[in-house]
Symmetry: C2
Subunit: 512 residues, 2 copies
């Protein structure tokens, strides 16, 4: 299932047997460095206990009566008037133990299955932005054409393991059947795993039906393995909205993966301190995960963290900052305490595809890597704290993620005898450029960048002094020109098409 | 001596007692995350043993007869005709044990003393570039005016602990007395520690004399503590040049610090594989460090690494790459095996202050951090693999280094009771913006960036759509306008001036 597994260190010769990876190669990756720690085991235990106190004494609001029924049945104290649910610690502790430590999502193309757990790390596309921009046409509202282009690009980029959601919102499509059009594109323009927006039961059921058609599954087969996932955002502080609960319950009943993620930016939706934010964030994760396990014990879930703060001057969320990194590492320690796969993100607040865009995302990517996370949503293309997707930033992020992945290339030290012979033959003051040791390895010895220009200044200048964003612009246009739709059985394609047509008719539009 | 020492985690309240640091605050830093490892202890031991074999069987060239005398006297096998020196492993092993595990460099301003060892990490300026550039005036050869401006900026930037060397080569100054002018500027425009170029005995002695005058020391006092440092580059493969040996021997005799750094880019000056490069790099470090310890046992030295490869397509060195990061982490493991402080660098090959400049330097900074290094030279301003200093890149690097430093701000979890009360008072669906818990902390809760623009797109656009480089341009000009020369005793200033005048006269120029 997991193409990453045979990439363990020492498993293969790095220098000759392994080709240099290209941007279009399928590239699940393993972490080569151990997760970092910023808190002691005692401190983590203290956060855990405080979170349980919050759930026992303050509680958390579940806005769906059906959810309250289940919670009450499992022994939580439910206030029917306010929707506030209080949990005795033992209830939370016993239910979160049912969450599996790892699982695999199997999309339409089984070779693009993704394992979440252990040292594996998967980077997804950007998702859910209302705007899109590129260097040629500037910034504009999201639309179907850009949506499709960005799905195609995400399909082609090897470091992009899945669709984190709509890579831009196609707001030219009516909201009541947008999920049908988008699911059709996700099932035909790419064969990678994708997120569905579990907003209410109907949309969720529609999308699950389409997954069954697209993957050729009956209801029992669907339940055998996660095929897709959704995000259950906690509307922090301490509130879980009804439509998401409804959709995510439907997914969970069908054994599909749910990512619990509090939107709890410190200073606004959670306390301004690290301790306060961690306590609340963890309480929210534990409550929602415990609830989903009540719905179906053993259902695949992620402990999700988009831990950061708002900028106290502007009120805007600050992404890719040192405070965020420290907090993310702490949430990673918590997720490992519970042995639940962790989901994080790659954030940038930059308005331009410039140095800020790069250093914020690079800091986010290091936070994701060092916190030991397994899934990085919004990894390719975020600008403006999630308000805009940039085509050029998609490529910039691909470059940086491929750098992270290349760190994990297997290290092979077995050529030491040959290397010492090369040192001897070259001797003091010589060079290694033409030695057999070099010549037999030079094509594949080092990571190849996507966008970096390493030429001397004069050559670069003669070529138009193109900065990284301009080079990314050239690159994505070339890629889109070369895009090929993944093969699909025409009968399946027709069945999907018919399903979309029928459901649109039922919903009340004939557009297609 | 070490301002970093009182910044240990938990030592102080982060949220209220510690002010947010500004770009001009003196900012020595501690590492908050443990150094990473990419090789096993056995693999490190194997590299170590192979390096000793190289020194025993192949040897390394020392191009200075005086050095050969010392090496022969201490039992190395010296070929007088070729200058090749072969070492029995016991000789190397016994001498490198004399290198101290940590030491402190005390510059003119004792409050800006720098401790090298343990968890401390110091970032220096850029050094030794032939060109300089800024957004207003483009790219041009280095000169005295830019040299002085860059010293002033480096003086003002809190994350810049020392002058790594000339922040640009003032090539309008005659080479035979450039060291006098530059040392005068280093001793008067800033009070931070600086590097001297130990090229030959005369220049080295001149600069040491000026340090004695500037710091008010006699010869015995000079020897009591390192006041300055130099870099001894190994001219890889396996060759140490005469003038550097001569200068560095003079420094070592005076108990000043020497940074041994092989210039051994894989594929050209060392074998193309990680194993071969590490073996050669380590052999070169060990030989030069053992030699310096023969000159003066216990003299302060650094194990220096600028480990990377050339790009096999262009022949240019590739900086800030994943291969470099893996190699740097391995050299960090070696330096820790010998318990010798490690020096690394912050490299970028970019021609523009753009995304590439940011992601390459950010990757270099993470390599420096995770390899456990103690001194990062060339940290503020490198472009074009060291051919150019950019004013804007100086500020960009300061931003990124201050992000690294901010990770190490003390974590204080002691407000948990108060935070839980804030969570209780806000309740489900509220917000924390006006709570007492927030109001008492919001001014200092989070790291403040130097250059990042977090405003909404429309505000940023109205303000001229300035990218990060443009904002850095505005910032450095403002800083230079606000520069103030650090205080110096007028008598000392006059004595320095007179020394420079006299030595120039003796050397054969009356320019001043």
């Amino acid at each position: 299932m997991n193409a990453g597994k045979n990439r363990r260190r020492g498993g293969r010769q790095r220098s000759s047997a392994e080709p240099v990876r290209q941007e279009q190669d399928w590239m699940p990756a393993k972490r080569a460095l151990k997760p970092a720690e910023v808190l002691s085991a005692d401190e983590i235990e203290n956060i855990h206990n405080r979170s349980l106190e919050v759930l026992r004494d303050i509680g958390i609001e579940f806005m769906l009566p059906e959810a309250l029924d289940i919670l009450e049945q499992e022994g939580a104290r439910v206030d029917r008037e306010t929707g506030i649910v209080k949990f005795d610690p033992e209830i939370v502790e016993s239910w979160i133990k049912h969450a599996p430590p790892d699982f695999t999502i199997v999309p339409r193309n089984g070779e693009r299955s993704l394992h979440f757990g252990g040292d594996d790390i998967v980077y997804g596309s950007i998702a859910s932005t209302p705007n899109v921009m590129d260097l040629d046409n500037g910034r504009r509202p999201g639309n179907k054409k850009d949506f499709q282009n960005l799905v195609k690009l995400s399909h082609m980029i090897g470091s992009c393991g899945l669709m984190s959601g709509y890579p831009v919102e196609p707001i030219d499509l009516p909201a009541n059947h947008r999920h049908l059009d988008c699911a059709y594109d996700f099932l035909t323009l790419t064969d990678k795993a994708f997120r569905l927006y579990a907003i209410g039961e109907t949309r969720t059921k529609d999308t699950l039906e389409m997954i069954k058609i697209g993957l050729g599954l009956d209801q029992d087969q669907l339940k055998q393995s996660p095929r897709a996932f959704a995000v259950l955002n906690v509307n922090s502080p301490l509130r879980v909205d009804a439509p998401l609960l409804e959709g995510c319950m439907e997914l969970t009943r069908n054994n599909q993966a749910v990512i619990v993620t509090p939107v709890a930016f410190s200073g606004a939706m959670s306390p301004i301190t690290l301790s306060g934010s961690l306590i609340q964030h963890n309480a929210e994760c534990l409550a929602a995960i415990a609830f989903l396990q009540m719905v179906k014990p053993g259902a695949p879930v992620f402990y999700g963290s988009i831990f950061t703060n708002i900028d106290m001057k502007t009120g805007a969320p600050a992404f890719g900052t040192p405070d965020s990194l420290v907090g993310m590492i702490a949430t990673g320690q918590l997720a490992r305490r519970y042995n639940i796969p962790q989901r994080v993100f790659n954030g940038s607040t930059s308005n331009a595809v410039d140095a800020q865009a790069a250093y914020e995302s690079m800091f986010s990517l290091w936070a994701a890597y060092l916190c030991g996370s397994h899934l990085v949503l919004h990894a390719h293309g975020m600008m403006e704290a999630g308000l805009t997707t940039s085509y050029e930033k998609v490529l910039l992020d691909a470059e940086m993620i491929q750098m992270m992945n290349a760190m994990s290339r297997p290290i092979d030290l077995s050529d030491a005898d040959e290397a010492v012979e090369a040192i001897r033959s070259v001797g003091a003051g010589g060079h290694f450029l033409g030695t057999p040791h070099t010549m037999s390895r030079y094509k594949t010895a080092f990571h190849e960048p996507l966008l970096s220009d390493w030429r001397p200044y004069e050559f670069w200048q003669k070529d138009g002094s193109q900065d990284t964003a301009k080079r990314a612009n050239t690159k994505w246009k070339k890629m889109l020109n070369e895009y090929e739709k993944p093969a699909i059985d025409p009968a399946i394609n027709e069945e999907l098409h018919d399903f979309v047509k029928r459901r649109k008719h039922e919903i009340g539009t004939n557009e297609i």
